[in-house]
Symmetry: C2
Subunit: 193 residues, 2 copies
DNA sequence: TTCAACATGTAATAAGTTACATGATTCT
DNA sequence: AGAATCATGTAACTTATTACATGTTGAA
């Protein structure tokens, strides 16, 4: 009963097939929800049976046919109910932070490597979100778009995702540098062995 | 096989009972992992059977007895293996951002209310983490602590959590103000009905 | 004596992940 | 002919959530 609303919220932005949705959810939809393709296919089936979305077969000549979904009136009503309910605290589960938390007793060189990998990913995501924000704004500047644009919801969530990834990048770099500074000698010793 | 490492990482900081751990995980352990008490009790049982933690009964006169756990050598070895494995992308699932994403088609007043609730929670958490950071630093300033303190891992993760909550607070406030500005008239109309 | 905090679990259900399966179409 | 992308699912398994269940101790 949770993925359901995330899917409905994304489908407000237009018609999507399961495959297209899977790509959107794979990047984490501006960092607020992640779902696997398998989850999406089953969820779309459930949503359609519940009458919250409407699926239409699209015949394609240049590639395999697909089924695209759009939100029904009942689906919008469900989103309204959801908006009024209390928001649960966000669920965050991050492997990398567990590794950093334990760094003093494990393997500093390995943790630094993981931080650097994540930094690269964070930079890529920040740039991706930046592009999305520009596309949503169009010709308008941010203030004008937020005052007059037709859908500010996706813009606000994307802004949050963008800032999150920028902070992530900054934190990964600083943490890696600090760990290097403390375990530099040992890391060189280990490399020399 | 995921909560396991988060529990081990926290237990590196000392002995904890299931009940104490539950309180730590309830705040999200500096925003990198959330787990319910039920999960923790079952996980601790599994960890002890696997020999990764060691449980000791503590007789208490002033309150019910408890069982406190500490990480064994095998537990530390498991954390080292974990540190070297690739970090999975973080899982984030946030109800509130779904509500905001859909705000243009749902109930702006309700979403603003949820944003304000979250802002209060974020401010409280930021302050909590700030206190934790100060306690970890002791008399030292941040640079000195990071250079010479005996465990910087928990400090770095707490720093991340602190920044995250500050950003959260800022985003909630700005988003609420923007939504109010756009739907102010309608929100007043609805309130007047 | 009732409430809050301390303390620990089990069972049923829901959700999410991983592995398995298939097939079309385009490009090299 | 083989790889990449598009496209959609099912089944088995692992995790997480929710509901249930119990009991101690201290303070109001």
């Amino acid at each position: 009963m949770a993925l359901r609303h995330a899917v409905l919220a994304v489908l407000l932005g237009g018609e999507f097939s399961g495959y297209q949705l899977a790509k959107v959810f794979d990047t984490g939809v501006a960092n607020f929800w992640y779902a696997s393709p398998q989850q999406l296919y089953t969820e779309l089936t459930k949503l359609e049976r519940a009458g919250l979305v409407d699926g239409q077969l699209v015949i394609q000549l240049d590639r395999p046919n697909k089924r695209v979904y759009s939100v029904t009136e009942a689906g919008v009503a469900e989103l309204v109910r959801f908006a009024e309910a209390e928001a649960k605290p966000a669920v965050i589960r991050d492997d990398l932070l567990v590794k950093v938390h334990a760094v003093d007793r494990t393997d500093a060189a390995a943790v630094v490597a993981r931080l650097e990998e994540r930094a690269v990913q964070a930079a890529a995501k920040a740039e991706l979100f930046d592009g999305t924000l520009r596309a949503l704004r169009g010709d308008l500047d941010e203030a004008a778009f937020l005052a007059t644009g037709d859908r500010i919801g996706p813009y606000l969530t994307c802004l949050r995702g963008w800032r999150f990834e920028q902070e992530n990048l900054d934190w990964c770099r600083r943490s890696a540098a600090l760990i290097r500074a403390r375990w530099g000698a040992e890391m060189r010793d280990a490399a020399a062995e």
